[in-house]
Symmetry: C2
Subunit: 336 residues, 2 copies
C-alpha cells in the first residue's frame, strides 16, 4: 500500500474566474442565461469580457476551489487539471501553489489558452457563469497520475468534466484507480445543465463509482426526475454511501444508509456572490469526514465554509477557514 | 470529584409486570382504556388480575427496564426505586441483581405492597397497562443517594414519577444533585396521560433540569400542544441538549442544536408486545451516547434494542443485547 500523503486529490477544470458586477439588464439585453453555467467559445467569452469591468481575476474551477478550501482548513491536497503555459495558466499555478496544494499536471504549450470563467454577479448575488474551457477540456487519461491517486485517501471529481469523451475517460480511469487502491471517490454534480445533458451517464457513474455525492436540491431533483425531495433522497440512498444535498438558506441534508440528517444553514447577513458555495460546502464536509467527525458536524462545517465564501467576491477563502471553523464550532458547543 | 462507577443510575417506579393476553372485548366490556397506562388502586388491580390468566410475571418499571437493557449491553448501572419487602419485592430485587445492577434502596417493611402493572396485550400487540403503584410511590428525597448520583455519568428519570408531591421532590433533588456533580440528566416522558396531567410542571422540569429528553411523537406533540412534528421539534430544540423522539414504524428523530436526524425503524416481522419499546430505545440510545457514538448511531442502536423487546412478551431483553447490537451494526456497515 502506498504511503498516505494527501487527504484529497481534486480533479477538475483548471480555470481562472474573471469576476464582474453587472445589472440584470446586462444579461437580458444579451440574452444571457441567469444563474447557471453556460459554456461558450473563445470568441463569445472575449466579447462578454470586453463589455464588463473585471472586479478581479482569481483562480477558480469547482474541484480546485474545494481543495483550496480544504487546504485552508489544514488538509493536505493535490490537484489534477489542465492549463496552458500562458499568463492565466501561470496565475492558476501560482495561486494553487500558494494555497499549499500539489499541482503537477503538465500544462499545454500549444493549442487553446487557459480556461476562464466570466462570472457576472447581479445585485441579487446570483452568479451567471460563461465559461470558456480552453485548455481545461484537454485533460486526458494520461494526466491521471496513479501515484497521486494511490497516495490520497479520497479522490474528488467535479461534474463539469463531461463534455469531451477523453475527459470522461479520464475521470472513469481516476475512479477505477481510486477503487483499485481502496480509496473513496467523491463526486460533485456541479450544475443543473450537466445533469440535464448527461443524466443517464451521470447516474451510471454515480452507481458504479461514487461513494460520496454532493449536489444541490435542484440538481438532485433533476437527477431523479422528481419534484419531491424525500423521493429523491430515497432514490439516491442505495446508490452511494453518503449523499450531501445543499438547500441554500434551508441548510443541507445528508443521507447515509438509514439516516437522514437535516442541518440548518449558517446565519448570513449579506450574500455578496454565491460563486463557490457548493465547492466550499464540499470542502468543509470532506474535511470533517477526514477528521472522523459525525455527519451532522460535517454538514455544519460545510455550512460554515460555504457561508464564508458567499460573503465576498470569488470562490477562494479570504480568511483562514481553520480558525473560522474552530470558532464557529465552539460557538455551537462542539469540539473544535 | 467522585470516582466514576456507573454509566447510568435509573430512578423510577419499581414494579413487577403481570402480563396477560386478552381480546379487545375484554377491555371494552370493562371500560378499560386501551393503549395507555392507567393508575388503579389495589382493589381494582386485584379485580383485573383475577379475571386474566397471567402469561408471566417479570420485573418491569420504565427506568428499571432501561437500566436492565443498558446492563445487557455491557453498561454499569444502578437503580433507585421503592419496593415492599414482600414476595414481589424480592422478585424485583432478584431480577435486577441478576441483571448486574446495583440496587440499594431500602424496601418498605410496612404499608403498601410492591407495585405491579397488569399489562393486557391485545392481538394487535398494543399494551394497556393498569398499574397499582403501591410501595413505588413512597420513594422520597431520603432515597436519593448523593453518592450514587455523584458516581454515575448520567441520571435517568422516568416521567411516571409525578403523582406524589414527595416523589416529585425526590426527582428534583436527583436532578439538582446530578448537576451539582456536573453530571447529565436524562428524562423520559413515559406516557401521554402524564403529559396531559402535568404539562406545565413537566415543561418546567425539562427546561430547568433535563439535558437529554426521550418521548414518543404523540407525547412530544401533546407537550407542545401542536399536531405538527416539525413545530414540536423546533419548540423542544432550545430546551434540551438532545431530544430523541420515537415514531413507531417510522423510526425516530433526534434533535440536537441545528441538526434533526431522522433514522429509519428496524425491520420487524412480528410485533408481539410493545411493552418497553420506549424504555429499551432509551437504553440503546444512552448506551451509544456513553460510548461516544454519533447521534444517528445512537438512534440506530435504540431502534435495534427496542425491536428486540417488542418481538416477545415482557420488557426485559431475552437475548444478549450486546451481541445483537454488534451483529446488526456490522450488517449496517457500522463499527460494532
Amino acid at each position: 500500500m502506498a504511503e498516505m500523503v494527501y487527504d484529497v486529490v481534486g480533479i477538475g477544470n483548471a480555470l481562472v474566474d474573471v469576476l464582474a458586477k453587472v445589472g440584470d439588464t446586462f444579461l437580458s439585453e444579451r440574452n444571457l442565461d441567469k444563474g447557471n453555467m453556460t459554456l461558450v467559445e473563445a470568441a463569445e467569452a472575449g466579447k462578454i469580457y470586453a463589455d464588463v469591468i473585471p472586479e478581479r481575476q482569481v483562480s477558480g474551477g469547482s474541484a480546485a476551489n474545494t481543495v483550496a478550501g480544504m487546504a485552508s482548513l489544514g488538509a493536505d491536497c493535490a490537484f489534477i487539471g489542465k492549463v496552458h503555459d500562458d499568463e492565466l495558466g501561470q496565475l492558476f499555478q501560482r495561486d494553487i501553489g500558494a494555497a499549499g496544494i500539489d499541482f503537477f499536471t503538465t500544462p499545454l504549450t500549444e493549442g487553446p489558452a487557459t480556461g476562464r470563467s466570466v462570472v457576472l454577479v447581479t445585485p441579487d448575488a446570483v452568479r451567471s457563469m460563461f465559461t470558456y474551457l480552453g485548455a481545461a477540456r484537454h485533460l486526458t487519461e494520461a494526466d491521471i497520475d496513479e501515484k497521486i491517486i494511490s497516495e490520497a485517501k479520497m479522490t474528488f471529481i467535479e461534474g463539469y468534466l463531461w463534455d469531451e469523451p477523453a475527459e470522461h475517460q479520464a475521470i472513469v480511469k481516476a475512479c477505477e484507480l481510486a477503487h483499485k487502491h481502496e480509496k473513496e471517490v467523491a463526486f460533485s454534480v456541479s450544475d443543473i445543465s450537466c445533469v440535464i445533458k448527461h443524466r443517464e451517464n451521470m447516474l451510471s457513474l454515480i452507481k458504479e463509482h461514487v461513494n460520496i455525492l454532493f449536489a444541490n436540491e435542484e440538481e438532485l431533483l433533476s437527477l431523479f426526475a422528481t419534484d419531491d425531495l424525500n423521493t429523491a433522497l430515497n432514490e439516491v440512498k442505495p446508490l452511494v454511501n453518503i449523499a450531501a444535498v445543499t438547500r441554500d438558506s434551508r441548510g443541507s441534508v445528508v443521507v447515509h444508509g438509514r439516516e437522514k440528517i437535516f442541518v440548518e444553514a449558517e446565519p448570513i447577513e449579506n450574500v455578496v456572490d454565491s460563486t463557490g458555495a457548493g465547492d466550499l460546502y464540499a470542502a468543509g464536509f470532506l474535511y470533517g469526514l477526514n477528521r472522523g467527525r459525525s455527519l451532522g458536524t460535517c454538514a455544519t462545517i460545510g455550512g460554515i465554509t460555504a457561508a464564508e465564501i458567499i460573503t465576498h467576491y470569488g470562490a477562494r477563502p479570504e480568511v483562514s477557514l481553520r480558525g473560522l471553523v474552530r470558532h464557529r464550532l465552539m460557538e455551537y458547543g462542539k469540539r473544535p
